[in-house]
């Protein structure tokens, strides 16, 4: 059987002395959209960062396309086909929009077809107009578009998206939802962290609720209705 795009087994991760992930196990199949739900501080962002090797110490096993990455430096992990969009968007203030877009290099072994700049500017016309503006002059929505656009340019086939709908106007959130649907249809594997359940619900194939750095609940989208009560309890503040 083909190996999953991402497979975590018993992953522990630390920031300095603080032990954040306490044995997370999950797998994301190719072409699947998986959403990590949970309260703030539950360890969802840390799960994405652990996959990229951006936490402190990591233990357990994290495989990307069947390749063990636990001992790899971050830049080598990225080249396995990962595109990472951080929670704070990570648009560089000292770079123009175009420089931000061109910053991530083409991955050495691209698994999907890298999206051309024209295709990106067609998908995100606002960015084309603002090519020469400093990246942080863009509106919040445009910055989010840019943060996603630049990882589509690299040939990554697995997208790690952290709270992309956060703090954006409803019309932008709808545009992002359409974008995810398009990307899913193109065969991208997407692992996303979401606070906005209404945004994530129609998009995801699979849900995982993280609590205290562990998987508290996991179920496919078809079971959403039957799990709703349990979910409400886990997500209530």
């Amino acid at each position: 059987m083909e190996s999953p795009a991402i497979e975590l087994s018993d992953v522990h991760a630390w920031y300095g002395e603080s032990h954040i992930l306490h044995g997370i196990s999950l797998s994301v199949q190719k072409g699947q959209v998986l959403t990590l739900l949970g309260r703030n501080g539950a360890g969802r962002t840390t799960t994405l960062r652990a996959i990229m090797g951006l936490t402190g110490e990591r233990r357990g096993s994290i495989k990307v396309h069947g390749v063990e990455t636990i001992g790899m430096p971050t830049h080598t992990i990225a080249h396995l086909g990962l595109g990472y969009c951080p929670e704070e968007r990570g648009i560089f203030a000292s770079l123009t929009t175009e420089e931000n877009l061109r910053l991530p290099p083409l991955l050495s072994t691209p698994r999907s077809t890298p999206m051309s700049e024209e295709a990106i500017y067609t998908m995100f016309p606002n960015l084309a107009e603002r090519r020469q503006s400093p990246g942080t002059r863009l509106s919040g929505g445009e910055q989010q578009m840019l943060a996603v656009a630049r990882i589509l340019r690299t040939g990554a086939d697995i997208l790690l998206l952290d709270e992309i709908s956060e703090g954006l106007a409803p019309v932008i959130v709808q545009a992002l939802a359409r974008m995810i649907t398009t990307l899913k249809a193109q065969g991208f594997t997407i692992l996303m962290v979401e606070q906005n359940f209404r945004f994530a619900a129609p998009l995801a194939d699979y849900f995982i609720v993280v609590e205290h750095g562990e998987v508290a609940l996991s179920f496919p989208a078809v079971e959403l209705a039957t799990k709703q009560a349990e979910l409400d309890v886990l997500l209530s503040v």
Partner: protein, 295 residues
């Protein structure tokens, strides 16, 4: 003879030129310090010693190997750059996670070791290095006599500074460097080998110091302590310009050289302290420096 505020114009202009020459050295050294500080977040105290090494390598190349000035102008920065790679890989890389004070102490220690080595071999008195043939003599501009070599130093260093500025601000390599200065972790998550970029940036920064050292060899005494004499002023320049600003460090370097030169004409007693007076005033008015951004 024309006078300006009671000072003969040629005297004024020659001090201005001298100020520009000194300013050129300040600019090149503070530029390297700014680039290194931006990406590595360390204050490279060894910068002065590596500048001194550049000057000594120029002298040694001619003395022992018969390599002329022009060859050493390329070779000395290369040798010092390679030394920089070793310093970063073997020593500095272990200190990034610790407080600034550790890298400051380490690079200060490297300074003492390097200066000690050169002093024990060559003593404290200076080595003479002749101005290369092509740049000997002076050109009479009518209103002043311009020594060719000093003109070359100013032109060469401004050219190099602008080239470095363009490389950082206008190219994709520079964009990666700027991004790395802002958020190295994220840049690495895009698949860019940031540790290697850090090593090469350090090497480039210290190579620039060595280049300045070779330029300085024919006009200053080549001594083990020539870097220490300069580096204190250069740190003041970096503070005035604002840490981590590329254009800021170039302009501040040249500007302060000129201010220093003019002070020598109008009030010589203050010429060695004027930079620090400016620093104190700038820190009072703009704590982040003239071109620095408040954090």
């Amino acid at each position: 003879m024309t006078d300006l505020f009671g000072i003969p114009l040629p005297a004024l202009l020659s001090q201005l030129l001298l100020g520009l020459v000194n300013g050129s050295f300040y600019a090149m050294l503070s530029l390297g310090l700014a680039v290194i500080f931006g990406l590595l977040n360390i204050i490279n105290f060894a910068h002065g010693a590596l500048y001194m090494m550049g000057a000594f390598l120029a002298w040694m190349g001619l003395e022992y190997l018969g390599l002329n000035y022009w060859v050493m102008l390329l070779l000395a920065p290369l040798v010092v750059g390679v030394l920089g790679i070793f310093i970063e890989r073997l020593l500095l890389q272990w200190l990034y996670k610790l407080d600034h004070i550790y890298s400051l102490l380490l690079t200060f220690g490297i300074t003492l070791v390097l200066e000690g080595i050169f002093r024990s071999f060559y003593g404290s008195s200076g080595q003479q290095y002749a101005v290369p043939d092509a740049l000997q003599g002076a050109t009479n501009l009518g209103f002043m006599v311009l020594p060719n070599y000093r003109a070359w130093v100013v032109v060469a260093s401004i050219t190099v500074c602008l080239a470095v500025w363009a490389l950082i601000e206008k190219t994709s390599l520079g964009a990666t460097l700027r991004a790395g200065t802002e958020n190295p972790k994220l840049v690495q998550a895009f698949g860019i080998n940031v540790p290697r970029m850090i090593t090469l940036t350090y090497a480039g920064g210290v190579a620039l110091a060595a280049f300045a050292g070779v330029l300085a060899a024919p006009i200053l005494q080549v001594t083990a302590l020539m870097g220490s004499n300069l580096i204190i002023v250069v740190f003041a320049v970096v503070v005035i310009g604002g840490m981590g600003s590329i254009l800021g460090s170039i302009l501040t370097g040249l500007g302060l050289g000129v201010i220093e030169g003019l002070t020598k004409v109008f009030y010589p007693e203050a010429s060695s302290t004027v930079v620090f007076v400016v620093m104190a005033i700038v820190l009072l008015v703009r704590p982040a420096g003239l071109f620095g951004k408040e954090k």
